[in-house]
Amino acid sequence: MLRCSRTLVNGRLSARSAPLVRSSLLKRAQSTTTTVPPPIKKSHPIRKFFFRLTFVSVSLYAAGVFAATKSDPIQDAFIDYVPYGEEVLDFVEKWTNEPIPFTQVPSSDPLKGKLNVEKTIEIPKRGVASEKVDPLAEQPAGKPAKPAEAVKASTSEEIKNVLPDVILPLLSQNDVAAIDETFKSVVNSLNELLIQINTNPKSPNSERTAQQLHKNIQELSEKYAKLSASRATELDKLLESKLGDIKKSFESKEVELTKQYLGQLTDIKAEIEKKYQARLAAEIDSFQKTLDAQTANLITQLKVDGLKELKTHISSLVDSDQQGKLAKLEDLYAKVGKLEDLEVDLAAKVGEVVAAKDLKKSVSKINKLLNLEDPSPTIAKDLVKELTNLYGLTKPLDNTLILEAINSLPSNETLLKSGGVLTQAQLISRWELLVPELRSVSLLPPNAGVLGHISSFVFGKLLFSKSGSPVVSKDADFSGTDVESVIARVNYHLVRNELDDALEEVCSLKGWSRKLADDWIVATRQKLELKFLVELIDSELQVIA
């Protein structure tokens, strides 16, 4: 290509540049002739590849073998997965375990022939695997099998040749001497034979020694047979004696066990009899009870039947005697029923009357306490007791009015605190004590001070006292509202035992007069309330009764 391009270039340049080109070419030729370039080494890629491949495979195998010798799992993997791994390992092991030079070690095949070994099997590393053996294939090709005698002769000769200097050790008599004389002579014969083999294996005495050995062995076998026979007879005798003893012991045990079982049998028999007797007694008892019950039932049934018959008989008699004495029996029965109801009503009425009587008695007791003339220190307690009794008596009546009246009564605590109720005489005396106080404040102006009180006290002494009560008429009312008029009317009502009117008059007071009479009003009102409520209960009881 370069040449062509050069020719083309040269052709194009033509004659115009011909002298210049020529001179340059000449210069180049001169320079090439003077400096020779070094020869370039050509590489061989195939050879290089094989070399590298060999090197890598050898190094890999070497590493694998090294690892396989060190570790069993790697060895297994090497044998299983690496081609020719087993052979390589065998080779390496042989090389490492047999450091004898190859020239001195006999090959395996001649050793086989010398030792009269027909065949040897090499056990592979992976273990023994059963394979079919072809005897024909095992024989080397073109060689017929040798007869046994020829093989023996050849082996003895070969052994002699191979192991000329082997000395067989003698047997020791110490172990067998104490046992038997025959063993001793056998050992001696064997030792003689061994000595002869060691000294001169081809001597004629060896045959004699062998015969002697055979004889000794025969004697030994006879002796052994005799001994075994005697041992057998002894053993039979021993067995017979042992069997006799065992039989005797078993018989004695049988007798004992029989006795024991007989005793147990009698005990069990007695127990069973006892149980049976108890069961029989229970059954007899239950049967007797059943019989009694059946008899009782039968008797009851007979009674019922008899009663039924009697009833039918009586009914037939009644039916037959309807026109006679028993004609009015039903009327009599109805009248008796009415009488019974009447008696029940009467009993209820009697109960009510008794209750009403008790109530009246209680009410009369309370009235008596309220109208006492002489003051009693236990009036409060007596009054509370009677009121409680009255409450208990009226509760079963379930009368709303009575219950409300009792609930409106002053409580027991109030009565006990105030000491019950005051008598008429007590009320009059307290009023008389209150009158001078009322007079002293009768002239007080509204919101009076010290001067007003002093003046009222002074001028109250100058007032005229009044008495009696004016007659109230439709035309004119002469009742005054001053304190003296009120005092006179209250006195009048108190004397006449008109407590409610007197209270009304006192309650009409105003100012300090009303305030001073407050306690008297409370006491009088309490007595009046009690009187009124007791009268109410009494009248209600009269209405109920």
Binding site: L434, S440, G449, V450, G452, K510, R514, D518, I521
Partner: protein, 80 residues
Amino acid sequence: MSTQALTTPSKSLLNDKWDVVLSNTIVKTGLGFCGGVILSALLKRRTFPVWLGIGFGLGRGYSEGDAIFRSSAGLREIKA
């Protein structure tokens, strides 16, 4: 106080008031007298400070008694 008022009978309400007023007046008059005596001693034993003190005491007692009597509010308005 309330228990005492409750236990006091209504009849003696005014008497109790009188007791309080009179005792108060005596105490105040006594105090005025004492003050007057002291002032009299200071004023070269003149008697008028004593009478003046007694008068002040009486006046004070009277005014307080008046208030005590008038202070019972509602007494005249009780309805039966």
